[in-house]
């Protein structure tokens, strides 16, 4: 194909090529290369390493939690510090690990999937990334200020957040910066997708990953500013005498929950829609069949996004809403299960009578399908208001959202990493390591989180450092699973490093059944690709 050769030529001229916008003269080398790069592939790579680092950090905090909960009684930490662990684990995983990881994927893949030479605003792209490390630094520093890191839970509910020490302010600033980064990244993605597609690539020909990110980016632009508003109000309540959430001044802490969850529920879809996109590439490739029901996938994704704006109060069934409100939010929430179900059935139909093979990306995708769907079901259980009155703020909810976030978002990220790694590095990863990583992750994930359903149903509250002895056995099992899961991730790290260093040479096509523009590029994808837009038929 012609664009392949054009791209290869561009690659060959890599350093000599000087094209308008930014890259004047030579590429800087060493650290300066990474600090100043405006190349979407470089930036994607940095996002991925950043998010993996945060994933390990958040993971260490999680192991701190599970070590304390290994048996009843206070073993390792003061309760105050335990609360910091749970809070910072949540914040770091959501805002530091999962979200930037998907942005990293978008940077790497969106341009090469739509035949664009780079992101629309390459310089802004660099800024979006370099905002992240300072924000992460603030979060780390917050552990060492008087009173320690914020301990109000990742949802940062008032009135706790009005009462915490300076660690809270640092967390607020960090979230402001992370939010600004997300918004800039999203704007970049929307503009790239809408304006930079290769000729012939109509909206309904766009790859699913691109579609899901387009919708996710819109969600982000719509709700990140609302979160910014909520934490700004918290900040002014703390320091400037306002009383948005301060009952003494006539404010209302429940209002915080309303504002937060207006952001918070779309946020959970922000963390899962790109995962849906990834899985929609992997399953067809390994079933060697086109994606079943492409257009219904597009519509389902859009309806999920729209519905996600009218269900926020399902997180607040116990605040004392009028019955009519409870019923509305309950029905609306259950309604979301319909488009989600459409997707699951489409993936199943794609696999139906396909000639399937189970390389690591497919294993993670199928694992995602099974285990994420279980998380969807427990979500439905939580959505039934009378049941939720019992299980709200128990370990059942913890089980629910780890099934959707770990086995959903994270497994999809692993699936996508193994799937595109050969395209990124030019080498095949070690299949045995990949499979070991998958099986250990799947098994230890379930050992960790499955017992939490029972704990929650039996009434164990979440976010506590100590518990009644009847919960001891399941907690011990969960803690063992957590350490197993944590250490299994080192296999992933080793596998990726090994694949970067060398390995069997990857072909351009990499996977027999893979389809899309990115597979027309050689592996590794050249530094500059699609300088001349390909023609899509």
């Amino acid at each position: 194909m012609s664009q392949t050769t054009a791209a290869t030529v561009a690659h060959a001229n890599d350093h000599a090529l000087d094209h308008g916008d930014h890259a004047h003269g030579h590429h800087p080398t060493g650290l300066m290369r990474w600090l100043t790069t405006t190349n979407h592939k470089d930036i994607g790579t940095m996002y991925l390493w950043f998010s993996f680092t945060m994933f390990l950090m958040g993971g260490v905090l999680a192991l701190g939690i599970r070590a304390e909960l290994f048996k009843p009684g206070l073993q390792l930490w003061h309760p105050e510090f335990f609360n910091q662990l749970t809070t910072m684990h949540g914040i770091i995983m959501v805002f530091g690990a999962i979200m930037p990881a998907f942005v990293g994927f978008a940077n790497w893949l969106v341009p090469i999937q739509i035949g664009a030479p780079d992101m629309a605003f390459a310089r802004m792209n660099n800024w979006s990334f370099w905002l992240l490390p300072p924000a992460a630094l603030l979060l780390v520093i917050s552990f060492f200020v008087p009173g320690g890191a914020t301990a109000g839970g990742w949802t940062l509910y008032a009135p706790l957040t009005s009462q915490m020490g300076p660690g809270m302010d640092l967390a607020i600033f960090a979230l402001h910066i992370l939010g600004a980064s997300s918004i800039m990244g999203s704007i970049n993605i929307v503009v790239t997708i809408l304006n930079m597609r290769a000729p012939g690539m109509t909206m309904m020909k766009m790859p699913m990953f691109v579609w899901t990110w387009l919708i996710t980016a819109y969600l982000l632009i719509a709700v990140m500013p609302v979160l910014a508003g909520a934490i700004t109000m918290t900040l002014t309540d703390r320091h400037f005498g306002t009383s948005f959430f301060n009952a003494a001044g006539g404010g209302d802490p429940v209002m915080y929950q309303h504002v937060f969850w207006f952001f918070g529920h779309p946020e959970v879809y922000i963390m899962i829609l790109p995962a849906f996109g990834i899985v929609s590439h992997v399953i067809p490739a390994f079933a060697r069949k086109p994606l079943f029901g492409y257009s219904s996938m597009v519509y389902a994704t859009s309806s999920i996004a729209i519905l996600s704006f009218i269900v926020w109060a399902h997180h607040m069934f116990v605040v004392g809403m009028p019955a009519a409100g409870v019923l509305f939010f309950m029905y609306a929430t259950v309604l979301i299960a319909v488009p989600t179900g459409v997707k699951v059935f489409n993936w199943l139909a794609t696999m139906w009578r396909g000639s399937m093979t189970f390389e690591t990306p497919m294993l993670f995708a199928v694992g995602f399908l099974f285990v994420f769907t279980m998380g969807g079901f427990t979500g439905l259980v939580c959505a039934i208001a009378p049941i939720d009155l019992q299980i709200q703020d128990t370990y059942y909810v913890v089980a629910h959202f780890h099934y959707v976030l770990v086995a959903g978002s994270l497994f999809a990220l692993f699936s996508g990493t193994y799937f595109w790694l050969p395209k990124w590095t030019g080498h095949m990863y070690n299949e045995a390591m990949g499979k070991t990583h998958f099986w250990l992750s799947l098994i230890f994930f379930n050992i960790t989180f499955f017992p939490m359903h029972f704990l929650g149903l039996a009434g164990m509250p979440r976010r506590i450092p100590d518990y009644a002895t009847q919960f001891a056995d399941f907690n011990m099992i969960a803690s063992i699973g957590a350490f197993g899961f944590g250490f299994s991730q080192l296999i992933f790290l080793a596998g990726v490093v090994k694949c970067i260093r060398g390995g069997e040479k990857a072909t351009a096509q990499v996977w027999e059944g893979a389809e899309g523009l990115e597979w027309t590029l050689p592996s590794p994808a050249p530094y500059h690709s699609f300088e001349v837009p390909p023609q899509v038929k």
Binding site: F121, N195, P225, A230, G249, G250, D252, G320
Partner: protein, 201 residues
């Protein structure tokens, strides 16, 4: 490569235009977050959902006194961030549903500067809240105490006879918060200046 350059230039203008539009959306949504505050206040006002700091209407309830039942009312007092003392003179009282009753609390500013506080009520069990009607309460206004000042403040209330029979004891707990900064009109205790969730500017 010159065709590439011209395609890029044409695109750049379109890209910038979309960028500006999306930035506007971002700014609007930031404002929307703040707009939710007065919006919810309006809803609460219209539906009467949150009337914590306003006199309750007693006109609608059954004024028949139910002598067959006695409800124990326990008073609990707390302080947050204020160097005051705060106590209930009665400690607890017993009332019949439908009967108007007064209880008196004493607040004292032991510090050497004038201070303003706001009391926030809460109920145990929470379910009792909607049957506990406060006709008059020191918690409807901010209280400003001069250094060394002691003040006795009343609560006048009726327990609705519709109170479920399973509830025999109601705990009424007040917490005094310090009011500082912009929302403290110094030295005045304006009646019901703190409406349900009113925003101060």
């Amino acid at each position: 490569m010159s065709t590439v350059a011209s395609v890029r230039l044409a695109r750049a203008a379109g890209n910038r235009q979309l960028l500006v539009r999306l930035l506007v959306v971002t700014a609007v949504m930031f404002g929307f977050g703040f707009a939710l505050v007065p919006f919810y206040e309006k809803i609460c006002q219209v539906t009467g959902l949150r009337s914590l700091l306003q006199p309750d209407h007693v006109g609608s309830i059954n004024s028949q006194i139910d002598y067959a039942r006695s409800i124990a009312i326990e008073f609990d007092t707390n302080m947050r961030g204020l160097p005051w003392t705060f106590r209930s003179l009665e400690g607890h009282v017993s009332v019949h549903p439908g009967e108007m009753q007064q209880a008196v609390f004493e607040i004292h500013n032991g510090s050497n500067r004038p201070l303003t506080g706001q009391a926030i009520p809460s109920y145990g069990p929470a379910l009792a809240a909607e049957y506990f009607r406060k006709v008059e309460c020191f918690c409807f206004t901010q209280q400003t105490l001069q250094p060394g000042e002691t003040r006795q403040v009343p609560v006048v209330f009726v327990v609705d006879s519709a109170l479920p029979s399973s509830i025999a004891t109601i705990t009424l707990s007040f917490t005094f918060f310090e009011v500082n900064g912009a929302q403290a009109p110094a030295g005045v205790s304006t009646p019901v200046s703190v409406k349900a969730g009113a925003v101060r500017s």
